[in-house]
Amino acid sequence: MNDMSDGYVTADGRQIGGVLMEMKNITLKFGGVTAIKDISFDVRAGEIRAIIGPNGAGKSSMLNVISGFYVPTEGEVWFKGVKRGPMRPYQVARLGIARTFQNIALFDGMSVLDNILTGRLTLMKKGLLSQAAWWWSGAAQEEYEHREKVEKIIDFLEIQNIRKTPVGRLPYGLKKRVELARALAAEPKILLLDEPMAGMNVEEKEDMSRFILDVNDEFGTTIVLIEHDMGVVMDLSDRVVVMDYGKKIGDGTPDEVRTNQDVIDAYLGVAHD
């Protein structure tokens, strides 16, 4: 890739690195419906990148393209300077791109701890046979190390008191947090958050915002998040892509985007009446 070396410094003084992922001319069609029309943008190492837009703008579709759940009709995804071939979602996950879902996809029958442990499946190296020889092969040691990492994440997200609770019993806001924990457990290069604040009350939104900032700060994780609530996003993110009807109508810092006339029209509905 051409500009891996450059970067920029954010308003709050964080050093942002070169381009980690680049979407090039992505188009996604379902039959006759075009969900995404020729969109390009990049994501730089260490930044919080938001994709915003009104309902039905194609934000979730874009996230699904990144995470491999949808294969783009046209266009290329470049990751770490390499063009990514057509990949299945589990292969994308193994590349180091973890995600959460708008409607929460957790393993309801399993405990919070077990749910978060599944996030580390791709990092577990021991095969079936050496796991059978539990102590002798070092598989036990490996399991301990993974559990230790998971406990750190549990502490970090302040969910110690529900470690053993089956996820199905948790309230919505905590489920969202567990899902974030599971994604974090994979130690991802890029963390994709699909509407992390959807359906939350003000207090829960503040908590979640704080966790997102802390994750970025503490682990240096690059974060791509989707939101339709403008206010939250503008405070959180370093750069914002604005989508409307499947097209990109703005891209830049929150301040740049906020003063962009197309964006204002899309959000205030000026263009529609």
């Binding site: 995470s67 759940f69 979602p89 292969q91 996950a93 996809a105 499946l121």
Partner: protein
Amino acid sequence: MPDIVLYAAEVTLNGLMAGVLYALVALGFVLIFKASGIFNYAQGVLALFAALTLVGIQRGQVPFAHLINAMTGKHYTNFPWEIPALLAILLTAAVMVVLAIIIEKLVLKHLVNQAPIILFMATIGMAYFLEGFGDVMWGSDIKTLDVGLPQGLNEMIDNTTYNWFGYGFFIDNLDIVASVVAVLLVTALTLFSQFSKQGRALRAVADDHQAALSVGISLRFIWILVWSIAGFVALVAGVMWGSKSGVQFSLSLIALKALPVLMLGGFTSIPGAIVGGLIIGVGEKLFELLIGAPFLGGATENWFAYVLALVFLVFRPQGLFGEKIIERV
């Protein structure tokens, strides 16, 4: 002690062991149902196929001999060797893994995201295909299976009980072996599912496909794994039932015996399959002894299990250990 009590005790013991054998078959159903939501109608035929393959390999039979002879005009029947039981079992296990891969590649892969009823239909198709395929591969004659498991009356138990009660219990050695094997199998499966990474992945897939994909689990790998394990369980069931009553078409009908066990124990619970099997095993034997034979003219074992399961369903549709069914409005 009155004779009827002693006799009932003996029948109960035998019922428990028969229950273990039912549970072995039910286990295969539970494994596949948990991981993929498929009711695998072919589980019984899988056991038949495993037993046929084991006998064939052990005796050095030429697979597809009839077909080859018909096309070439030769008269092949057997290779000039016999294979030791243990090695034959390992080879059969390998065949079951290959079968799991073929099933995934030819059938399941193309039915991803289809309704459960369609997958159920597919397993019916697979069951009859596999039955025919087994016949073509190994011949349709009735075979005896002998992998060297002890059979017949356990004299130690007979003598001990005779000395204690003046009445010797008849317990079949094979049933004892089957019980031990079943306990080992269930322990191994439980350890695997709770502590290994593949087991954790398997539970994850059973819970939510989309979430499983997002943490890097390959569904296709898990399905192959699950069908392989179901193949192993079928092999164990096939060995036990085959040693007991010979390897023939009726072996596949033991699957029907697993149905009431599943209704009782729940489709999603491994302990449920075990406990359900034991209850059915003891229940049908005792019912026959105490009520069926004296009052109803006997042969109640054919239907008692189903009726018991039906009564149970009415009061607890999810089974003894099944996940509670809660529909939110």
